[in-house]
Amino acid sequence: MICKDVPDLIQPAVDGELDSAQAAALETHLHDCAECTRLVEAQRNWRRTVRAGMTHFSAPDRLRARLAVSLAEADAAAARTERPRGAGWRPFAMAASLAFAIVASSGLTAYFTLPGEQDSIVDGVVSAHVRSLMAAHLTDVPSSDQHTVKPWFHGRIDLAPPVDDLAAEGYPLVGGRLDYIDRRPAAALVYRHREHPINLFVVAAVAAGDATGIASRSERGYNVLHWTSGGMAFWAVSDLDLGELKDFARLYRTANTAPAS
């Protein structure tokens, strides 16, 4: 190899794209040629500077949330086209309003489909969820620290929902927010699982007494779970699949077997 061969090899050398024979030949030449060594080193250093300094942009949460919403909508739209009269939730709801059907049970928790009279609340819960994602207003108090989020609600709402970070279980706490469900103030706890936001709305329970199970419903591409505990009604909503959302509910309920005041 002679000096005039070197310029063509600089880029691939700098990028580690020379094959081993070429690399060896270049090394041999550089060993004897200070001028070419300087040339290659200068380019190598410059490449390093650019590589180290160039900004790595990460997708903002706002985009992730927006995308989750529009993909769910696109999916729902596709499902509607495939099944014009739809095996969506409406027939399901009708069946549910006839009978409080038990659809599944897992461990000690019984799962029900939500009865039809809850339609407007379910609709409100899903709308609040979608709104929170679209407006880039997922949290008023963005914090993964339960000791920050829990006191934040104090004085803002007449409820003290249990707040536990479930990061160790794969459901990190993202923050909290005030919202309205069914024209009543609600504490919204925001969790995340993988890329999927979960809103857990907590409102004062209308009826006394804790129901024993968790009710579920699929609506507009979102899964909704509902249960009551300690005088509070809980609504969890997410585009997560039902199994994962149920896992979340189970973890949350287990973490709060004794609801804090």
């Binding site: 691939p12 990028d15 300087r38 997708a59 993909l71 999916d75 699949d241």
Partner: protein
Amino acid sequence: MVEQSRLQRFNEVAVPHLDAAYNLARWLTRNEHDAEDVVQEAYLRAFKFFDGYRGGDSRAWILKIVRHTTFTWLARNRPSEVVASDEDGDDDRAAAANGAPRSDPETLLLQRLDAELLNRLIDQLPTPYREVLALREIEDLSYREIAELLALPIGTVMSRLARARERLQRAARGSVTPRLVK
């Protein structure tokens, strides 16, 4: 009982590459809001055509769609930026010959170039140069991977990258040297 829906499969395939997709779109559009719009559009397209995805390199699949969507968007909104500013001319060789720093102090100075200035200078490069730099230096794609994504010969990828770095270095020298003289 746990059968994955089409959306769930898509989320598993495509969402892990959201940062890469956004990064590319952000470097191409140079604007965060435009990048978000473009990526959103690209992902909806990808979801629509997901049945056509036959496995394989999912990042390459997504980046190809993002790239296509971005260039379509640029052509519509900023046509002046997508004119082929990449003619592989002979001025490269001359430019490459001038590429080496002239003195060691200057080399040191360029190495300490602050990142903010560097990124501003990259933003001023023509679109194709910004693109190869983002793919090579951030996504760490090989020449071959870039060549496949851009549907170009490997030799062209290599010379485009060389010219991108060279032009950037000239620009950096231009903005750094006056301070050196002071």
